[in-house]
Symmetry: D2
């Protein structure tokens, strides 16, 4: 049984506490938050959990194996470093930190201490994204041509980071998971509609060495909520609509075919193909539950996390490059 | 009564013939196409129309007032120049020509001859786009914040022009129509998935001097057909879905409000507002019918066309810049 | 080559003329309508077709093999009887006539003369309904449990027949086609919202000897257009949405399973099953084109029509019974 | 502060406990259930609530003002009668009881004791249904023409009552709430697809003295979940789709108009009207929270409950009549 301390009880913290409490291999011993009214809620629901406003109570407790941190991004690095130095395994809310350099230092510390450092990218643990990875990996989709995502709604404007760090991070973590190839460059554009605030709309194009391209559209100022991803391949194409209650994924047996044609030397003949549409049944296990159990298994067995700190760092690096490109009005920034 | 000659009877030509035939002020005298099997179809349906494979039959006929051209883009300039020199008013299929420089020369010729040169951008004549313009012009939307469009489907791959010239042209013509401000720069990215063929996916970001941004996503290799445009303003937001059979436009009384707050000097307070959604009733007149009648009126009254050659040239200039930016992987190109 | 005369050039007539003109084995020689302005339209589009306001011009022409009738229901019987007596094969617009007794007399006359008498129930010739029949026939669906259809919109109010005869006829013809079993009774309810006019809303329940039930909801006074049919079986279930532009049919591998359970002697255990959803690719041949070719083949080969007069009569009999039940506020009427 | 005892902690009980706990005027003192593992869940979440398997612990406690009962239907009457005799106000899960005669006896007992007896019909407390009532009451809709509802999904098969008692009860309670007129008769049909089990599909037509008609379609064996209600009026029509996350209600300014026309003496001329569609903003208060607060206010002020026992009895009477009609294959049963 692993003893867990949860740091931060804001938006995501309650989900962490609930899932770590329900998971067989873990037990939540502490919840820490600076806001004592939040801690009272913990006391009401989980009378057995100790609450504290001082994170050191957790770090100094030798019986604690791991901490799960869900605090504002700016605090990620310091808290994680402290926890690692105190010998605790760390599950860090996304994004891992606010700079790839800091990510690197955390990774080095975790390596030195032989501790698990995992980032809480939740989407790779959903049944939908796992099905997509399966379709990509087993060749059903063929060569990956594009990943195109719209992740927009009337969202909470954040004051310290742009919409990229809030929403595009999800697509970047999905890309990390489903596509083995690492991107080579980014071009991004965006705009802020509120003075002196970070961009609330952004568009990212991600370049690869292969014929793959990725594009991510994020927006905090949209009248409708869209979570719509198209994945095109040489053989099949996928529509992944996370707002659909049941048919989240549709696989289209549709595309083009190239026809060799002696008579048309100058132009390649392109044919069109249209087949069935399949919406596979997906299991309904909560993604965070799988993630929490995976974290426990990594601690217990030494297995490398699926959403490793290295992967978290690559995502941060793309967001850094995208921010730089956005400041340069779309100029490509190499990775 | 204006006598009309139609040049080109491929995809769009039949619609032109039908609408010019039904319009009160015009009469179709000729249809010209190089393919005589196409001309036989004309003969079957319209026994009174003279068909020819030689465009000079039309240009040399003194009784002809105007020609409507719907041929491949590469032929636009020569045909239009010939027609203008022959003293005919010209309605040109979009895009006006394949370069802004050629557009400029046509405009000059039309001016010299005192002839109407109009481009067949159809969308500004739809009830949906006219309603959007009305909402923008009368201030209902407030300051324009963004225009975001996805125009994708499994479309006919073209061999001479990229998807920008085929699909983005529609959004650019809508932007020309609804927004008075001219864009100042473009950043575009894209990719081709078929060797030695033009890009079949492209993303355009269009910059303005104001806080407005436009983004256009076009794709010939998508499993589903989307024609979805979001228009955000400081007061209201619009969802324009051209695939909807009846409720094409939804106006959301939704957005953010900025709150002056003495206690929060360092950060502006952002509030969220959510009101009714209105889908206005739109009349169902065919857009091309309105366009054809407008063309006739411009000839008869000297009124300047709503979709003027100047507007057509600006659209071409943006597509030239976008193509240049796309070749430079997103680097901004000024207009 | 079969020579065809078309009688009636209102809503449906133009589709008949177009399809009989394009079909290889048929040639349209006459179009007859009492309204001469309609006939002028025929002359414009099809200069080779003879038009007339006198149906006898067609019936007296020995070269005419068959007539296709698309006139008001009240005229169906007389026109068909005249045509059969004149030795012409007949394709009759749905419903076959306005009473099953008249249908019977037409069938007898056709038999006596050895002529084809076919009813123009179009839906059985659509790719969607043919796919449904295939799924039912090959056992994929299992035992048929229910057919539930909503066919509603703001439709043209008719003055002589209720909404049942206008809209429910489509579902009844689909049921005839996909389900071998004949219904045994009907219960129907409905109401008219305009004084002295026939019912504009109706609900039909159709009983079978098996565990199958059918329900049809038709409405001329609905704000939205629905064409939605659910077909439940013991193994799979189908959603057939005719308003969907491409994915008209979805096959759900979903249902209940009965579990034998010793401990629960008094109550049968019911389990729930949820699998993939498949939307099969459907070809896009126009249904009326298949129908017209089938009619020609029946004339030429003596093949019995898929939508035979007998089937048309059974549909009329159900509508008679439903009208009677509706007058009795739902009381079951046997067939 | 009112002290509340909750009886039954199955599907609905947890919602009752949560809402009564959060409501300002009420405090949950007891939760009773025969299943002690369920009670343990209560202990974990609400350490202050006393749990018991003996309902008499609640009824004998003088400090308890009211009980909220959410147990199987067959137990409703006995539990409610006991509670009323013990001097407790009662909030009863729907349906009030399994027979109108039992409802009557409970109403008489509550009257005798001067206690509040209210039925937990939740829908009248939703923002959507309240908006519909407002539109009906203020005349916006005009005369009510029809109420048509489809409430279907792959639902839990119940062994003691048909799908009518499980699902149609919701529509009947909505009709009670929005339409002042009481129905006069019912015709119902349905079928069971599992031997010796109650009907899992049913269709109800409800007749009124006016030109209003209601129809309810309920089904436990549907592959998709529909909660779709159409409400037609002489002036406007409503589409209420409870599965829509945000635009649950759409008001269509659409319908027919009757035209006086001298030339058409024999037939009334019907015109068609099509205007805007409005989706009003609805507040997002949880319906059960409003219901619970209303229950408390009724106890404190003597106000008559909006979802009174009388209304609950009328709903039960319609379901009894519908069950009787269903057994008679649709024969109308008067109310």
């Amino acid at each position: 049984m692993l003893n867990i301390g949860i740091v931060g009880y804001g938006y995501w913290g309650p989900n962490l506490v609930r899932n770590f409490s329900q998971a067989a291999p873990t037990k939540v011993k502490y919840v820490c938050d600076l806001d004592s009214t939040r801690l009272k809620k913990v006391n009401n629901i989980y009378p057995d959990i100790t609450t504290t406003t001082n994170v050191n109570d957790i770090l100094n407790d030798k019986s604690i194996d791991a901490v799960s941190i869900a605090t504002p991004v700016s605090t990620h690095f310091d808290l994680a470093m402290k926890a690692l130095k105190a010998g605790k395994h760390v599950l860090m809310e996304k994004p891992l930190t606010d700079s790839s350099e800091k990510c690197q230092r955390l990774i080095e510390e975790a390596d030195k201490q032989g501790l698990v450092l995992m980032v809480d990218h939740t989407f790779p643990y959903t049944a939908a994204v796992q099905k997509i990875k399966e379709l990509v990996s087993n060749g059903d989709i063929g060569d990956l041509y594009y990943y195109d995502s719209a992740r927009i709604n009337l969202g909470l404007f954040q004051h310290d980071v742009s919409v990229i760090w809030d929403l595009a991070v999800h697509d970047l973590s999905i890309l990390e998971f489903i596509h083995d190839e690492h991107p080579i460059a980014v071009s991004a554009t965006g705009i802020s509609h509120v003075e002196e605030q970070p961009e609330n709309i952004a568009y990212l194009t991600i370049f690869y060495k292969s014929r793959m391209i990725a594009h991510i559209h994020v927006n905090w100022l949209a009248p409708v909520k869209l979570r719509q991803t198209l994945i095109g391949g040489s053989k099949k194409m996928i529509l992944y609509d996370d707002m659909e209650p049941s048919e989240k994924i549709k696989i289209y047996d549709k595309g083009i075919t190239l026809v060799d044609d002696d008579e048309s030397i100058t132009r390649m003949r392109i044919g069109y193909r249209s087949g069935d549409v399949l919406s596979p049944n997906l299991d309904r296990v909560e993604a965070l539950s799988s993630l929490v159990n995976h974290f426990a298994r990594c601690i217990e067995t030494g297995e490398h996390p699926m959403t490793s700190a290295e992967s978290g760092m690559r995502v941060v690096r793309i967001m850094e490059a995208a921010s730089e490109s956005m400041a340069k009005k779309g100029e490509m920034v190499s990775l």
